[in-house]
């Protein structure tokens, strides 16, 4: 499961860069979202909406989950979505 969502996250970030008139660049797990890739809060908000459409999941809104807002790197984002997706597949009784 490790890094399996990286291509999905990468695609969303590249869409954001494209939509805002910036050129494509390498998006790797260890890259810092802000300084390496240059995403501001609006870019990040767009990324999250794009990922919600792709994965039908928003870790920032899922009931019961309070994502630790550690979102410095691309890898943090991948981990966040992987955790949210696996939590969503647990039976309700174990949801806490």
């Amino acid at each position: 499961m490790n890094e399996s969502l990286l291509p999905v996250v990468r695609k969303a970030i590249l869409t954001v860069l494209h939509d805002t008139g910036r050129s494509a660049q390498a998006v790797e797990s260890g890259h810092l979202l802000s300084t390496d890739i240059g995403l501001d809060s609006l870019d990040l908000a767009q990324t999250i909406v794009l990922l919600e459409r792709e994965l039908a999941c928003d870790p920032f809104r899922s009931a019961g989950s309070s994502p630790t807002l550690r979102m410095r790197t691309v890898g943090d984002l991948v981990t966040l979505y992987e955790a949210a997706l696996s939590a969503a597949t647990l039976p309700p009784a174990l949801d806490h």
């Binding site: 939509d19 609006l42 767009q46 909406v49 919600e52 928003d58």
Partner: protein, 464 residues
Amino acid sequence: MSSSATDFLSRLTDVPVANRLAAAIDLMAQAFPERTAIVEQAGSAQRRGISYGVLAANVKAVEQQLVDQRPRGVVARQREIDALVATVAACGRQQVPLAVVADDARDLVGALHDWAVLGDGLQLSVGTTGIGSQAGPRREDAFDSASAQVVVATSGTSGPPKLVEHSWDSLLAAARLSEQWRGLGWLMVYDATRWAGTQVWLQALLTAGTLVVPASRAPDCVARAIVEEDVSILPATPTLLRRLLTSAESGLLSKMKLARITLGGEAADAQLLAKTHAAFPGVKVTHVYATTELGEVFRVVDGRAGFPAEWLGKTLPGGVRLTTRRDGELLVQLSRDTAEVATGDLVERRDDRCEFTGRRSDVIVVGGAKVYPRRVEEILRGVSGIADARVYGLPSAITGELVAAQIVLADPLPAEATPESIRAAALTTCRTALEPHSTPRLLDFVKHLMVNTSGKIPRHSSRL
């Protein structure tokens, strides 16, 4: 029309206001019983005409029931417009309080649980209405039904619908009974139970006109109804007019003989007005500013967007006084002895005009900065290949909201354009013209825009 009908309108002005609709229908039924009062399902194979003679008979039948049963009030619960008209006319003449309540406001009629109900069958049912049994305990802020003459529900564009009390005077205040309005064809695209709708059918039937109700709001159906039924007056929201102009078959558009377009419900922008004048040369465009609470406040007839800036701070003929709050919200005082009312509409001065920038409640807040969706929509509609656009706020955990847009592509597309090239052009145009937080972050292509029952664009959508 014969001379007996020429003085028809002046005879009407002598009739007490509450009786006026029934009197107008009676006068027409006596002089021209076969004349069509209402066309339902216009523009379709199911077209059905209702004559003034039939309408007058229906009014009499309802009045007879009101006389026999003397209900405390009547809730008009009808889908067929001819049944609604008969109910309103009969209640007016019999001085029975009336509630005209649209579908989405039906929850509110708990406050009217002891009133009788009239449905499409025009059979009065008192007591076992089903309303009372669902009403539950009377809330403290429940509507005071005892003194009401006419009750109308607001459209709920900017909040949940609520019941608003009117008098026959205020319901008919805007109706024009002068000769130039007699015997015209009126298109009815509004919900007949809402304020804007009541104003259209009252105006049409008070002035010996024909009310044309299209079978649907699909642009081609509306266009067929206008052409086939000889409609000359088109009351519409800017959203509905824009749809007609951009999506109806052009052959039908050129056959229309519209004399007047009356816009209301939303602000009309300069772009739409220019398109309208280009499509219908010589048409008079009036923009009515009205709310369910205040009724008609003013109308602008010069065909330009907004209203003259010099109106601000002055008392207009008729006693209305317009001012703005510091944040640009328009305040209205109907007359010297009424309170000032905050309208929720934001205006901005541009040269000699005051133009509407949006509703206070439509404002999208992105990272603490305000975005006016109308402004973004105007820019998107200016992009070649885009027929229409709706801009709305998408909730975001990071920035509170995010600007999103739905786009209707022109059909056919401009030469060599593709949806992808138009999308790129739209984003580039927005980036050049707008602040980063105002630029849409999501652009979706849709076949047509969602339009609510009031014919307006809903602004706040739940998430996808």
